[in-house]
Symmetry: C2
DNA sequence: CGCGCCCATGTGAGCGCTCACCCCGGCGCC
DNA sequence: GGCGCCGGGGTGAGCGCTCACATGGGCGCG
């Protein structure tokens, strides 16, 4: 009945089981040199007392907290949040906790604050879902004592020590999307690019250009939001709508679809549209959106693996996961389209 | 040059500044009884050494980790992820870290594991974004030594000690949505409800029923996904499309819009649709969706406030944040609709 | 049969911090 | 002018764990 006073410590368990605290520790850490019988007694004492190992004490002496710090943008954007979920699951599999810091902007100050925050907390590694060029610079300036993994396609991250990079191969995904449109018979694909200070946006642009060739028209730069796509769509309606568009993400594509629908421009009959992300709901846009899917679960696992390799002192090369094209109605060439008008 | 060996400790700072470790501690904790001059010397030593307070040691002695554990479903659903972001920001304002655990299902086992995980880590409080009835029971069975706040409308959470509940007033939001449709002149509003083991779904249903009155038709139960809405929409097209629908979330509404568009049923001309959530992109659905917006930032702050009140021993009543109706084209009665066919 | 080695377990120190307590000197007050 | 009080600061213990080492009994081997 005195349970409220202080949670049971290892010594309490030891006393109850009639062993030393060290034996309890050995049981907890699966040390081989413990007789099954002793192990049993200790396990019983633990259960009886409701003992739970104090991780602060453990961290203090081992200098390892078993915690992964994740820096993520303060938005509900599909990509970043899915990546966070993927990371958490991968981290848990290897027994890590995940601590989160969101940041509103990726300037040096915000990044510095976030990293400082994590280092003070004693995290064992840091993952940054924050794919702007500013980030890499901010990190380079900090010289983290623990490994850092940057999650983005990041094809030109400066080679900073301890800084690894993993990502879905955005460039490959962009090639798939662009090639798909060309395969449909469109001779020219217009690219609505994302903010060019984001690695992902840069790479999607690069992938598009690789397939489109040098003769392709200039890309159009926009933000990541549907509102940007909508504005741009309205402008296209005024100035001329292309036959095929590859948008840098699904939200941009959604905004375009909205503008086209509003102005009576038919998709895919008048213009084919492809997005990127395969957001929840993309299958139900008007019309259902052809897009590029990313495997965020695999991405999380890759990031965690990369961090673990860093602990082991391995010099990990940049690693990428392939993307996958998901074909839906928005990009199917008119002749083949089925749904009645 | 021996910096790599061991990070500087408080005693190192003390030695450099020519004071005792306790004085350094006082400076760090803003204790008043330190001469400005001394404070200055200590601050300099800290900067020079790049000292960072070891939070594990601090946690060990204070028994407070300054960490908030958040349990959230393992999905990129708009509501949960937005709530997570809101929580993190509110937590940071009061100086808390946020640790995250995602769970795939809200059964007792998963919840138990997640809470056990956090308690071992020594979190000071736990927030659960997990609005199913199963959750409340699972929590009640655990008897957490730290305060727990359940984030959901949760109008019938059992009165468990230490268990607080905060949420956006789903019932109110549902009333707004339903009343809006009635105000448009529709005599009957059909409700497509979410999974009834979710508190939010229950409350949206209840709000709809309050305004619709007992004479209203039975609601239709579905999941949370666009695919569910789509299936249902197709069924409605076969069996009869109502004049006005209030869907339990935007994804369901999106699926309905998809089915209606595909089958040539016009929105809002033939059927008015209202959703719930105001997801990113809802303004750009076809047509733009009337929906109910929730202030997740305020929700996060309320949850954190509630936890702090719990520390102070206050017996906090259940608190709710009002929702806000956002009117767009999908619900505007035909006569008033503007965009040309 | 005695030496050494390994298995099983115990002992003590110390991780870096905060808390409780002690100490010293100056100043106001009766 | 002595006493108490308070500002400014120091000392030591101990939070709960792990690590390095000590111990002691059994068993294989020459």
């Amino acid at each position: 009945m005195n349970s409220a006073a202080r949670p049971p410590a290892m010594s309490d368990v030891a006393a109850l089981a009639g062993v030393s605290h060290q034996t309890v520790s050995r049981v907890l850490n699966d040390h081989p040199s413990v007789r099954p019988e002793t192990r049993e007694r200790v396990a019983e004492a633990i259960a009886q007392l409701g003992y739970r190992r104090n991780s602060a004490a453990r961290t203090l002496v081992t200098r390892r907290s078993g915690t992964l710090g994740v820096v993520t943008p303060a938005t509900a954007l599909y990509g970043p949040t899915s990546t966070l979920v993927g990371l958490e699951e991968a981290a848990r599999v290897v027994g890590w906790f995940v601590s989160v810091a969101t940041i509103r902007q990726f300037d040096g100050d915000s990044m510095h604050t976030a990293l400082e925050h994590f280092l003070g907390q004693g995290v064992d590694g840091i993952a940054i879902i924050a794919p702007t060029t500013e980030v890499a610079q901010a990190i380079a300036a900090i010289a983290s004592p623990v490994p850092v993994v940057l999650i983005s396609s990041a094809s030109d991250v400066p080679p900073v020590p301890h800084l690894h990079a993993v990502g879905v191969d955005q460039r490959h995904g962009a090639r798939l999307a662009t090639q798909h449109l060309l395969d449909q018979g469109f001779t020219e694909v217009v690219h609505v690019a994302g903010p060019q200070d984001w690695f992902d946006a840069q790479d999607r642009l690069a992938g598009w250009r690789e397939v489109s060739g040098p003769g392709a028209p200039e890309h159009i730069e926009a933000g990541w939001d549907a509102a940007d796509g909508y504005e741009l769509g309205l402008r296209m309606v005024r100035e001329g709508v292309p036959r095929a568009i590859f948008a840098a993400n699904d939200q941009l594509a959604l905004g375009l679809l909205h503008a086209f629908w509003e102005k009576g421009v038919r998709v895919p009959d008048d213009v084919a549209v492809v997005g990127f992300d395969d957001e929840v709901g993309a299958a139900h846009y008007t019309p259902p959106l052809t897009t590029v899917r990313q495997d965020f679960g695999a991405l999380g696992r890759l990031a965690v693996d990369s961090l673990q390799a860093a602990f082991a002192g391995e010099d990990v090369a940049r690693q990428q996961i392939p993307a996958e094209l998901v074909v839906r109605a928005s990009s199917i060439r008119p002749a083949e389209t089925a749904h009645g008008a």
